[in-house]
């Protein structure tokens, strides 16, 4: 053979070696060079020290029961007795003690609703709204009662985590459909509609949330007759919902703009009516394209619910402050804030399930091959 390379030379080159196994993995990721090795060891020591200190404080030296509360000193570990004593206040606010099982159940229903909406099986224009209306409806019925022997508990007595969840899910249930309407109206071919909705969205987005909520709580009752004004909590949730809708509408609009023109044209050419083109073709693609931004908006909204404290609602953050506010447990603020942080963390984690959902859907498709 008249090759360009002598056979002897080809024989002399060993094939590249692919190393595998945990040793090779460690070497590649942590000990590839001498300075990699130095930083790896340094951080390993640091992490071990932090973990050990945390374990010591949170578990080993911790005081768990209220009976032992006199042991809670600055030198001792975490005083989780405060959570045993005030946990129900943080979770349920001033909800009647004997009825708090309803509050617990209601919270679980909403958590299940959020978790289920992260699964591709529910990503349809019919199932998702149905899921949320059902979840939110069951939540309100459980919380409010007043039927089948359940005593009526009006929203003035709602508080803690369950109030946070009520505000969040109410905002989503009102805000998401509004956002779709706003986004479609802003893309309307009628300039009057497109311009006026664009103006409205930009105005709402330029207002601070707090100003909007104050206006809903304080100003609206002055303008509307009592029958229309509803109670303060409802007005605040509606105002918050409009605020959410203005931001979410822009996300949906971006999603709609990312869809190639040919999609709508194909649907038009097939004789599909406008509502079907929107519901079957455009919105499902717009939501899929903007899933990370939409989840982000939901997480931000969840955390921002704490702002209603200022207009006198005791959601989970305010209840946490109340738990340490009266002096009895005044020294245990670190434990209470850690507990609050864990609650928020759990929820952000549940929202994070949507990434798992996106991965599932991808895998489902590949599975067909």
């Amino acid at each position: 053979m008249a090759g360009t390379m002598p056979d002897a030379l080809i024989g002399a080159m060993p094939p590249p070696v692919i190393r595998s196994g945990p040793g090779a993995w460690l070497r590649k990721h942590f000990f590839a060079t001498w300075y990699d090795a130095v930083f790896s060891v340094l951080f390993a020591v640091l992490i071990a020290w932090v973990l050990q200190a945390l374990m010591q404080w949170a578990v080993i030296d911790a005081i768990w029961r209220v009976e032992n509360r006199e042991l809670c000193t600055r030198e001792a570990g975490a005083c989780w007795a405060v959570i045993e004593s005030r946990g129900r206040l943080i979770l349920f606010g001033l909800y009647p003690f004997d009825e708090q099982w309803r509050s617990t159940l209601a919270c679980l229903v909403i958590i299940a609703t959020i978790a289920l909406s992260c699964l591709p099986a529910f990503w349809s224009i019919r199932r998702l709204p149905a899921l949320w209306i059902a979840g939110f409806g069951i939540f309100v019925m459980l919380m409010r009662g007043g039927f089948a022997g359940l005593p009526l508990v009006t929203s003035e007595q709602w508080g803690g985590l369950s109030l946070t969840l009520f505000i969040f899910s109410g905002v989503v249930v009102i805000g998401m459909p509004l956002a779709v309407v706003f986004a479609l109206a802003r893309r309307s071919s009628l300039p009057v509609i497109a311009k006026s909705f664009g103006f409205f969205i930009d105005i709402v987005r330029s207002l601070p949330l707090l100003a909007l909520l104050f206006a809903a709580a304080v100003v609206v009752p002055l303008l509307l007759p009592d029958a229309l004004a509803g109670n303060k909590l409802m007005r605040v949730v509606v105002a918050f919902g409009i605020f959410f809708a203005a931001y979410q509408a822009e996300i949906i609009r971006a999603g709609l703009q990312s869809i190639p023109n040919g999609q709508d044209e194909a649907a038009v050419a097939l004789g599909m009516p406008y509502w079907s083109r929107v519901v079957d073709i455009l919105l499902p693609q717009a939501f899929r394209n903007t899933l990370p931004s939409t989840v982000n908006q939901a997480v931000i909204t969840f955390k921002e619910t704490s702002i209603v404290t200022i207009i006198g609602f005791f959601e989970v953050m305010a209840s946490g402050n109340a738990a340490i506010g009266n002096g009895e447990w005044g020294n245990q603020y670190v434990e209470v804030y850690v507990f609050l942080a864990l609650i928020y963390f759990v929820f952000v984690f549940v929202f994070g399930l949507s990434r798992y959902g996106a991965w599932l859907e991808q895998r489902m498709r590949l599975g067909h091959d």
Binding site: A269, M272, P284, R288
Partner: protein, 245 residues
Amino acid sequence: MTDATIAIRALNTHFGNYHALRDIDLDVRNGETLVICGPSGSGKSTLIRSINGLEAYSSGIVEVLGMAVGDNTRVLDRVRKRVGLVFQNFNLFPHMTVLENCVLPQVRALGRGRGAARLEAMAQLTAMHVETHAEKYPDQISGGQRQRVALARALCLKPEIMLFDEPTSALDPEMISEVLDVIQELARADMTIVCVTHEMGFARAVADRVILMAEGRIIEEGTPEQIFTNPQHPITRDFIGAIKS
């Protein structure tokens, strides 16, 4: 007017200052296969899209199956249910399976029941030889298969006229014939077809008539034989020379 299935008179289309179609007169008979070719920017796509009202025009008359294609949306809806269009880029709905792509338009446009729609869809997918891919998503099949699915999707509505806007231009060369073959079968079955394409072999095999467009006008018209072997207009000669080489 005439007994033509498609009758176009003095059609003019402007995009802003750009004069895309100039005084187009065209009749297509029932069962005829018409091929439109011409250099890019000559208005072929604009013309074919005017037939089902996807492109608005400035003046003239477009009459399809006895209905005036204008801005009356009710008439447009009726026209679109009887006129199928296949695009260069397939435009399948990526979030639905192949089967659902074919079922949904029947349900939404014709109000057909899901069961009947599914039967029709499977029949059309089988006719296009893509029935084994029914449960796949569009991004899991090849370009040639996608275009045949797009054709099946349009045929599910039982159109009387099929429009093709460069159906093979986005395909790899080895997939062109599998798409042209199924269009040819349609032509043999006496479907009225208007097809924008540069595939000369296809035009020779199936076209009853070829028209050549340039700068928004129809500059030459005749049988495939006349156009491809004995072009009269200088632009036609250049164009035929270019696509032959």
